[in-house]
Structure formats: C-alpha cells, structure tokens
Amino acid sequence: MKPPRFEYHAPSTVDETCALLASLEDAKVLAGGQSLMPLLNFRLARPAHLVDINRIGGLDRIYERDRGVAVQALARQAAVEDSELVASVCPLLSAAVRLVAHRVIRNRGTVCGSIAHADPASELPAVLLALGGHVVARSKRGERKIEAGGLFAGVFETSIAPDELLVEAWFPKSPKPFAIFEESRRHGDFALAGVVRAGDTLALFGVAPTPVLADAKDPSRGLQPSSDLEATPEFRLHLVRALTLKAFAA
C-alpha cells in the first residue's frame, strides 16, 4: 500500500496552478488528501501528476458574501466547524461538517475537496444542493460559477473540468427550519442514507449516484439506490423515509 510513481508539483499561486492543470496530461489536484491519499495508497488512483495546492497562500479564507458564506479551497473542514461566521450565517453547514469523518480527518480535509470528490454518500454536496449554493471554478480559460444543481454529474463525477481548480464554494444563509440527519454504521462513517432539510427543501444523499432534491411528502419516489454490504435499495429507501419524517417533524 504505497503510492505509485507520480510527478509532484507544488504551485504557490492559483494562476500557476491553472497553468499546470492546463499543460499537464493526467493531473490531479491534491487538497486535504483525505480521499485522494487513500486512493493513491491502494493504487486505485494513478495520476501521472499531482498538483498539490497546499502551498498556495491566501486560499483558506471563509468569508461572507451575497448573504451567504464562501469557503475557499484550502479552508479545512475543522476551520469551518469552528467558524463563528459559519455558525451564524449557515448553521446547517456547521452541523453538517461535524458529521464528516472525525476531527483528525477534518483538520486536513477541505470542504471544497469534499464537494469536488462528489462521493454520493457525502454530506457536504447534499448541503450545497439543499441550500442552492454554487462553486467557483477557475482555469486558464477564465472563471465560472457552477450552480449546485448543475455540478454533480455522477458517482465521483462533477462538471468541473480537468483543467479547472475549484476555488471556492458558496453556501447561502440557512433558512429555518433546517436539519441534517443520517444513518451511518459507525460514528463518522459515510452515511447509508441521509437527508438535509433547508426550509421546505429536501436533499438526500447516499441514495442515488449524486445528491438529489426530493419531495418531503414522498421522498423515495423515483429513486433507485445502489446496493452494498450494509444496505439494500429497499433499506436505503426505508431509512430515507424515516429520516425525512424526523427532519420534518421538527
């Protein structure tokens, strides 16, 4: 379980990063490494180039804009968890980030990395979707805004292009009431199924290739969840219905 060979790059600015991403064949961005490093160690990911963005200065801000919070690419999940700004503007995000893994993982893992990684069972993409947030992607071609609704394309797939760097994620102010509930096997594990409520909007995770919006009255309609060792499609739908009831009972 040692990483395969790769070429390592550690740019110090966003522009330099975009230039590298534009010129390198088969490059991967390395942020917190909490998903990418295990994949490398298992040799399940074998990029020719690793572009480590951790040396970029000033890319770890969490700030208020447009009545929401923007979380930059190097803001660690732990920083978001501890942020008073996030707690006051987007408490849903504060609550959600606490469900991600464990503190030691969150000390390194980034919110943007979690979104870019797009694990279907991951909390933060569903939160972004429920809130109707967006991300900002930068490349040599320029900067563009991608709405959450158009971001998640499939299991571990997003509409971020290989030459693009996700520079920040923007989460609108949480409406009331809000809630996030999930069922995971152990504390800190990825969810078997989960629900995010933001006002009257409901987003689900763990039950489809991407996070999905659903109707609170019939949350499991049209879903065809996958099956794995810990949950069958039926069990996932059962859980989603139970968790939705709980979220909307509040």
């Binding site: 040692k2 298992f42 040799r43 152990r186 800190g188 060792l229 039926e234 069990f235």
Partner: protein, 784 residues
Amino acid sequence: MTTRWFGERVQRAEDDRLLRGKGRFTDDIDDGALESVLVRSPYAHARIRSIEVGAARMLPGVFAVYTAKDLPFGETDLPILIPHPNLTHGRTQRCLASEVVRYAGEAVAFVVAESRAIAEDAAELVDVDYEPLPVVITPEAAARADHLVHDDVPGNVAAEMVQEKGNVAAALESAPRRKRFHFRYERGAASPMEARAVWARWSDDERKLTVYDSTQSPTSIRGGLAVLFGLPESQVEVIAPDVGGGFGPKIMLFYPDELLVPYAAVHLGRPVKWTEDRQEHFTAVNQERGQVHEVEVGYDDEGHVLALDDDFIHDGGAYTPYGIILPIITAGQVPGPYRVPNYRVRFRDMYTNATPTSPYRGAGRPHACFVMERTLDAIAADIGIDRAEVRRRNLIQPDEFPYDVGVGWQDGNTVVYDSGNYPKLLETALEKLGPRPAGENIGMGLGMYVEGTGVGPYEGAHVQVLVSGKVVAATGIPSQGQAHATVWAQVVADELGVDVRDVEVTGGDTRRFPWGVGTFASRGAVTAGNAMHVAARMVADKAKKIAADHLEADPADLELAGGAVRVKGSPQRGIPLAAVAVLSNPVRYAFGGGTEAATQFTPRARPGPPLADGEEPGLEATGYFSPAGSAWASGCHAAWLRIDPKTYRLEILKYVVVHDCGKVINPMVVEGQIEGGVAQGIGGAFYERLAYDSDGQLRNASFMEFLMPYSTEIPQIEIEHIETPSPLNPLGVKGVGEAGVIPVGAVIASGIEDALGIPITEMPLSPLKLYELSTSASTSTSTR
C-alpha cells in the same frame, strides 16, 4: 510486614517505553534491511499456467524475485501443526503456489527490493497466467460438493468426528418436548492493529540466523527454521519483540513470509524485512468462526435438558495447517456450564476456497456458546419461564466438580471441569444488571460460558537474582499486550520478597529462554505464570540454603522479604539478596559489584569445596510447569440493549460481566482483557463481517468497510470477579485472555430477540439484517 503483589493492581512495567514511542515492534527494526512484498493470487481458485517474472527482475531497485521453483523448499508442503487421527484428508499449502491457488490472497511470488514502494511496483510486473476454476465459498456449498477444493479430497471433507455420551437417540425419543434449530455463524477476523511482520539477518561470520517475527510462538518458529536450514537450534535466534495484538492468527505458523524472509536474508546476504499491509492482512492471515449447526434438543416440561444432538460443519478454509482443533473445541464446549446427560456431536471440517482458519480469540467457543444459549432461550420461551430460570435449572452445581462432560478435549484428554460456581455467576450478574429500564424496544441479553484454559504441554521460566539485587526473569512466550512483564514480576516478587519494580521480565526471545510453546488459548498465566512461580521458588530455596550457611540458621527458619533473606521473627538478622547472589558464585577474581565477598581468602561459612556436589553457581533457577488438565474458567454476561425500531441501530444500555478466572494476579490487567474481549465480541456480533462473494473475493478488505468499532460503539462494561481457584496449578489461576469475547454473540442475539420479538439464529447481525428479518417476519407472521 511483607507485601504481597499477587492480587494487586500493580501498574504496568511496559507502559513507559510504549508511551514514549520507544516500543520495539518488528517493523521498527531496520538496520539497512531490504523490503519485500508477496505477489498474491487475485483468484479464489485457479490453475497457474505460468508465472513470468522477467520484467519485475529488471526493474531498477529490485534485488530478487522468487517463485516456488527458485526455492529449495518450493515443493515441500508446509506442516500440519496438530495432526489428529480423524484428520484423514489434511492438506497444507506450499510456501509459494506453483500449480493451483485455492484462496484469494495465496502467495505465488516474493519480491525483494530497495523499498516497499519499488517492491510493489515490481509485484505489478509479475505476470501470472491463471485459469480460473469453480469456487466453493461457504461451508454449505462445500458440503454440497458440486465442486472440489482439492481434487483428491472427496466431498470436501477434511475430517469427520462423532462423539456421544449417553444415548441421545433414546433420550430424544422419550423426551416430553423436542425442538430443532439451524444456527449459523459467519467468519470473522481478529484484526490486530499491528499487521504481521518479519525481519531476518544472516551472519555469515557467526553462521547465525536472527529473526524478528510478530509471532505468538517464537520458540516454534525457531524449531522450524532450524529444521529448514539444517542449523543447530543454537544458531537460530527468534525474537517476538513488542507485538501489536495477536488474538490468535499470529499463533499460526508458518506463514510463507516466515520462511521466505529468512531465506532471502541468507540468499542475498542482507537483512530483509517484510511488513504486511492492511489490505493483504485481510486475506493473507487466518480467519475463523464459520460454522453451521443442526441441533435437536429434548427437554422436559420444567425445561431440564435431557438430550442434545448437534451436527455441524466447520468452514476450514482452503487448507488445514492447524488441524481440527477448532471444531474439537466447539464440540467440547457446546454443553457449557449446563448438565447435558445425553450429548451427541458430529462435525465435518470442510474445505472452502477461502483463507485457512485457525484460532481467533474464543477459538470455537463463541459459536458453541451461541448454540447452547440460543437453545436455552428457546426452551424458556416454549415452556413460558424466565430465561434466567431455565439456566438456573440446568446449571452444574458447585458440589459436582470435577465434572466430566464426556467428550474429547483439545489436549487429548476429555473435557473435565476442575472447579467453578456457576449459580453464583448467574445470580450475581442478574443482581448487577438490575431491573428492565423504562422504554420500548429494549431487550435483555444473557449468556453463560465455560472456557477450558491453560492447555499444555508446558512452559518454562528462568529466574535469576543479580549481584545488584535486581531480578531478571524470562519465559519463552511473548506478550501481545497482556502485561506479562508486570504480572510475571508480581509472581516472582512474591516468592523472592522483593519490590515488583526490581523484577525485569523478558518474554518471547529465544536468546533468553529457548523452550516453550507460545501465547494462545488463554494459557499464559496458567503455564508460564506457574513456571515463573516454580522457578522463583527454586531460587528462593537456593537463597535460603546459602543464607542459612552464612547466618548459621536452619533454612526452614528463614524467609525472603524486603529484599533480604532473614530469620523469621527477627528481621534484623538477615542478609541482603544481593549478597546472597554474590555468595552463590564462588569467584577467584573480584570483578566488582561486591564480588570480593565470594573470593577464596574471605572467610567462608562452610567447610568443603566452594561448590558442594550437585550445587550450581549463580542465584538462578529454571523451572517448568506442565498442567495435568485444563483449568476451566467461566462467566456470565448480561445486558440491557435497545434496538431503534426505524433504523435498527443497536444501543447497549448496560453490560455486566461476572467472571471467574480463579485467582486474579492483577485485577487491572484482567479487567483490561475482559473489556477488550467484550468490545471485540460486540464488533463481531454487530459490526464486522467478512463479506465474501460467490467468486471468493473478499468485498470489504479495508477498515472503511470492515467495521471495527470505535469508542462510540462500545459501552462501559461493569465487571465483577468471582474466584474459585483451580486445583490443577499452584497459583490457582485460570486463563482469561479469551473469556471476554466468548458469550457476546449469544448475549447480543438474546437481547435483540427479546427487544424485537423475532427469532435470531445467526451471527453476525447488522441493521440491514434486522430490517430484513423484521420485514420478512411481519409479512409471514402466521408461519411463525
């Protein structure tokens, strides 16, 4: 007043080192060692058409790539460790497979390189051409025998054994009530936090092989390597340094690496090491627990068991290196602490295309306990009595010991319980558990067990008082966290009347003590603990003899206390042990350390030659202990638990353990063993499983998916000790290493059945499993 260390919560001698990061685990040893990797079969069953290693050998940084044909022992089958007449079709693997692989993870080639990363690069270049063969993956499939794991083993049956006490057929026939059950227990994994590792160096100058191995049995590894390399045992040193948890699978030998690493070290003339990674650990290291039981019980209207018939198949895996110890233990332990006047047990040990099995903490007992405890719960439900009451009515009473169960045991004797007080265990546990907590979906789990601990053949110990007055003690068995360095010191300190901190213990290092067997089967305290006691007493006797000459007293009037040998009743008349140590070795040259007291012109207390006939120099002794039979520990676990009716999440509200491991040397250590055992049991009952698919692939070979519990999943555990000393050893101790884990599956099953009202007949469980059982139960309630 003399302090007695036995029974005290003495804090551990090993902690300081481990806490400072100065522990010494096998992978910590470096000395310029080359690193290595095993190329493993991705197929569960396949014929090897060819192995191409040219490209791997060419990779810069690679030192060697070995396949079976490159090894002098490449055609040798690895040994069957415990042969048994009923093991009619024993089969073992070869170090590296060259013809057929029979489980995913079986080793086919060995790569040695500058670093593990390069070795892994090279391993990817080893090109093996496999022809996949049909896979047999569950014990049931093995019994159907549509396909064979070994062409020459008909029906996939490695061994079959039938034992009977009384007349089961007749007793069942005449029993007022009868019930049949089908119980299933899946495979599990020990998963110590340190995977396995081996480091070896060959010294050509000294013609000496030195091996560090994370094994539970360095003495056996040494014996095996001496045979393999044709060396006298004195030229082979095997050391199990700090070992990061064992729990059974590290008692297995030889894993291929245990031969390949020393071989490569000799062949390449460089130290070589191999450190297993977590992914390969999942399939390369032995597993356990897969069994399927068909049970019939006959009982009367009061719930007394009259006859029990158990016919089970055991998932042996692809090979039987460990013989049939596991099903033998299961067969011997099904009746547990209960009277079963008529008992018949048949087992068949089945080959499957999965990793071989050998003992994992509990070793055949969790399943045995599950069978009996589930059966008793069903009897209680049937006749409408309380689940504690049915146990009460069937327990063996304190005046019935020794109690002969009437079937064979793993040491070649029969199962005979030496001592215990089972009713007291039950009543104490019930009392500690307290009343049913308020709320819905709450169930009571209850389970009792016995455990035959301390199997032989023997262990030994060497104890020596140094001229400094400090004491060193050594035994052949290594520790994997059981605090041997502390508890052996307690035993020795008591005999020698010294401070426990003045006793330094070494275990698992053949340079210090070359004889013995290993750490397994809850045997350390019984075998090595008593050997320490024997050796220390011999040293004490010797000290008294020497001191008696010096003090002009009768040895019988002397005692060892306060670091001195002194006259009972007049403690001021004495001689420090350090001085006795000096006197024990008559010297010509005073080399320091007070040895001038033992030179030839110093007045001597005794006429005649300095060493009388039969005397040996040095205040030291080697002692052995070989038990006459197993010391039977026992216990009762009880729990209140809750299952969330929507999510089927398990919440353990209270968990009580009352156990009897005879005399307790160190309650703190024993409690640690039990807490850890229960946690491992909870993991195995509700979180962990080994998920093999029909192709024989393990689908969850990572800690992301093999769900070992974190602290958030494990409750506080309340423990009470009850002591019925074993009459079979001088210390009166019984083993406790495995105890914690044994009844947990049965307890969780019992509690969940009570909480949800659905019959539980299998292990492990999970929310998904409970959801499925509940939904199928609610759609077919009429058939229940």
